[in-house]
């Protein structure tokens, strides 16, 4: 088990190097730092001196991969690639283009993101699984058919609609909670209610439908027939046998996204002006702050790979048939 985890972590390294190179090529090779400087300074202020100044402030005046002016190891380490990409592996994110420490910002903004993402995930899971169980229990009846139809309709509605509709009805017409904003401590709760509700409702359609398929697949298996043949009631069959076995695919599906919860939701956070990592990314995109976008790409990939490793481990924990050593 331990050896397996070590091996998986080692496998992750080439992938992260790949991600790193892709982002580096996207941000520095396809468009040179000169272009970035021009875009940032705007048409009016573009003079060669201004560009050089902008680049020096951010350390972009160095060569891309190989600094032939230096000696020894510095030939490699005193370059843009080393400063901006290699250091990411030590989670040293450096400074944003506007001069703030990205690592510090990420630590600060992680918590509001989690405050929304975790309740949305837990509540969503609870509600979706209950609905799916209900629909699967009444399979091939009108409840099932209409349940699926409603799910498809809910899936077809744009997520933006849920957010705008929720803000409009709950905050503007009914004045129950503030439209958007954030506060520290317990005061934050009143700002969190609406985003959480909207997040949960937005996920019901696809979630319920997905879990229903898992349950139905499980219900058609032999052991369920055996359980019924033993004379167990349909309810016992569902809760004691089907639910427990269906939890394996459900759990592993959840574990993959767990680490990504840190990243928050781009859209929700920016609509509700919550100072999380999602809105941080969006602001960076809109301000064209390349350093932040680059860091977030790297962070996102790391978290995704952690999620994959956790999934494999959780498989062995919940499903004794799976052996990692093999």
């Amino acid at each position: 088990m331990f050896a397996y985890i070590i091996r998986r972590v080692l496998y992750a390294i080439p992938i992260l190097i790949g991600v790193n190179i892709i982002t580096f090529v996207l941000f520095f090779v396809v468009n040179s730092p000169d272009d970035m400087a021009r875009l940032h300074l705007g048409d009016k202020y573009v003079t060669p001196e201004a560009i050089v100044k902008w680049k020096t402030e951010r350390g972009y005046e160095k060569p891309l991969f190989w600094n032939s002016d230096k000696t020894g190891l510095e030939k490699f380490s005193d370059t843009i690639f080393f400063d901006n990409s290699v250091k990411l592996f030590a989670f040293n994110f450096g400074q944003s283009d506007s001069g703030r420490d990205i690592g510090y910002d990420i630590q600060q903004r992680m918590w509001p993101s989690l405050a929304i993402a975790v309740p949305v995930m837990l509540l969503g899971l609870l509600i979706n699984i209950s609905f799916a169980l209900l629909v699967a229990f009444f399979r091939a009846t009108y409840i099932d058919i209409w349940g699926v139809v409603i799910c498809v309709i809910m899936m077809s509605i744009s997520g933006l609609f849920y957010i705008i509709g929720g803000q409009f009805v709950i905050s503007k017409l009914l004045h129950l909670v503030p439209i958007s904003g954030y506060d520290t401590g317990l005061e934050a709760i009143k700002f969190l209610i609406l985003p959480v509700i909207v997040g949960v409702i937005g996920g019901i359609g696809s979630g319920t439908r997905w879990y229903r398929t898992i349950f139905l697949e499980e219900i058609n298996k032999d052991y369920v027939r055996t359980a019924r043949a033993k004379g167990l009631t349909e309810l016992t069959v569902h809760y004691r046998h089907v639910l427990q076995n269906a939890l394996i695919p459900i759990l592993t599906g959840v574990v993959v996204v767990l680490p990504l919860l840190f990243m928050g939701s781009l859209i929700t956070e920016s609509f509700f002006s919550i100072p999380g990592l999602g809105s941080y990314t969006i602001d960076a995109i809109n301000r064209q702050d390349f350093a932040i976008v680059r860091s977030m790409v790297f962070l996102g990939s790391v978290l995704y790979i952690i999620g994959l490793i956790l999934t494999d481990i959780s498989y062995t924990l919940v499903d004794p048939r799976v052996r990692l050593e093999s």
Partner: protein
């Protein structure tokens, strides 16, 4: 009317896609095993219903993809024809009144008066602040307060009748053809269709078709007199914008797949077929790409495009060409982020296929790898491609709105549902609320995505071999 044809890049790709589809239809008709799943799709009531609705969306998108510079009016006969720099489409010509009848600013759906008060000078020199009449919306009415409701009902009934007549004509033509083919009388065939005794649910298809035609004619009749979804900030008809957005949505849903398909197909099948180091390299490639969160990769690429366009500003002669390039680029980026899932599926399927006897046999006969891949493997993974193409479509249409909202989607000058939502979002704070742009965008999006979802369910049921046993 003289015109100067323009071929936009996305138009060309759409034509390519249509030609491919045409080839596929011709090819599939000759192969019995390809016809079977499609016949099952054709038997699915919900599936056919949504297919009819989708075909209406598709026709609008195709009409909207034939672009040209219209000719300017000549001052005298001996002057050479001058073409406008503006690019319009065939669809614009059809809905000319919708495009040109521009009000000053916001107006509510079916409004006859403007949204905001204006100072109006009266005949006797006094000024008064009141809601002015709209230039076009309901301008034919003498006394809007009393006549409007009656007029709307009247126009709707006219539209309804026209729609009924038009659809009755087309449907009876179809039934006549079917009766000829089955060598029965027209009456007999009509009875069979009405009693829903046909294998393909023609009854459902005709009812859907008829309702869509009525919808088209009623909205056409009404939109000539009113702005049925109101107007936006600069007085453009919202109904027109929603119709134009159909092309953007459809193109993103289909071109993305077209762009990614070759990569996913060839790499996926190669990885599964050759195994060994080829497999390792391809797996490494898609794992790396898929571990970058999609939105962030798109954002990064969109930023890069921004810089590229700023650098090469001179190359874009018109706004339309610029917006078009951006749409194409968005499709490509979406394609790059979404091909990994399909590639993984195809690799798995190819791994299974290579062990099957007929592949072994062709290897034993000394058939080359290329021939095995193209003649024996590709046709046998097509059902996976088909399923994933239709399933991805609706997700991509929804993604467009979200991406446009965070400014990394289509060009702001291009009509799209995302842009409509984006610009209308802030107007909800106005008093009275400006809700119609949002509502129109959401209704159209729901229409397209819901029918696409239902259709994709039908296709998946028919093509997925795992599902065919349980039904």
């Amino acid at each position: 009317m003289p015109f100067d044809y323009v071929l936009l890049k996305t138009d060309a790709l759409l034509y390519v896609l249509l030609i491919f589809t045409g080839f596929y239809v011709v090819y599939a008709r000759q192969k019995e095993h390809l016809c079977i799943p499609w016949r099952q799709v054709a038997r699915n009531k919900l599936g056919m219903m949504s297919a009819v609705i989708l075909s209406f969306f598709l026709s609008i998108a195709i009409l909207d993809s034939i672009h040209f510079h219209p000719a300017l009016e000549r001052t005298s006969d001996d002057v050479e024809i001058q073409y406008s720099t503006e690019i319009i489409s065939l669809f614009d010509v059809i809905v000319e009144p919708l495009r040109t009848r521009v009000e000053k600013t916001y107006s509510a759906p079916f409004a006859t008066h403007a949204y905001s008060k204006e100072t109006i000078e009266q005949a006797n020199g006094e000024t008064r602040r009141e809601y002015p009449r709209l230039v076009y919306g309901g301008s034919h009415l003498e006394n809007p307060e009393t006549e409007r409701t009656v007029d709307i009902i009247k126009s709707s009934i006219v539209g309804l009748i026209k729609g009924l007549i038009a659809s009755a004509l087309i449907i009876s033509l179809l039934i006549f053809r079917q009766s000829k083919q089955a060598k029965i009388s027209f009456k007999e065939r009509l009875r069979i269709v009405l009693q829903a005794k046909t294998e393909v649910p023609w009854q459902v298809i005709f009812v859907t078709f008829c309702s869509m035609m009525i919808l088209v004619f009623v909205s056409a009749e009404l939109s000539l007199k009113y702005h049925i979804f109101g107007t936006d900030k600069v007085g453009m008809d919202v109904f027109y914008q929603s119709l134009k957005s159909i092309r953007t949505g459809l193109l993103i849903g289909t071109l993305t797949t077209l762009v990614m398909l070759p990569f996913a197909l060839i790499l996926g099948v190669m990885a599964g077929y050759f195994r060994g180091w080829v497999d390792d390299v391809i797996q490494y490639l898609y794992t790396t790409l898929s571990s970058i969160p999609g939105v962030l990769l798109i954002a990064a690429a969109a930023l890069m495009l921004e810089i590229y366009m700023a650098k090469h500003a001179a190359e874009f002669t018109s706004l339309a060409a610029r917006a078009d390039l951006r749409l194409l680029f968005l499709c490509m980026i979406l394609g790059i982020t979404s091909w990994t899932g399909l590639c993984r599926l195809l690799r798995g399927e190819a791994l299974k296929l290579r062990e099957i006897d007929y592949i072994e046999a062709s290897k034993a006969f000394g058939v080359s790898h290329m021939t095995i891949i193209f003649r024996h493997m590709l046709p046998n993974v097509m059902h996976i491609v088909m399923i994933s193409v239709v399933i991805d479509f609706s997700g991509l249409v929804l993604a467009e709105a979200v991406l446009t909202y965070i400014n990394i989607g289509v060009d702001p000058s291009m009509e799209s549902w995302g842009n409509m939502i984006n610009s209308a979002r802030l107007e909800l704070a106005r008093e009275p609320v400006v809700w119609w742009s949002l509502a129109a965008a959401f209704i159209f999006m729901l229409g397209l995505v819901l029918s696409a979802n239902l259709f994709s369910d039908a296709v998946r049921d028919a093509f997925d071999p795992r599902l065919s046993g349980s039904k």
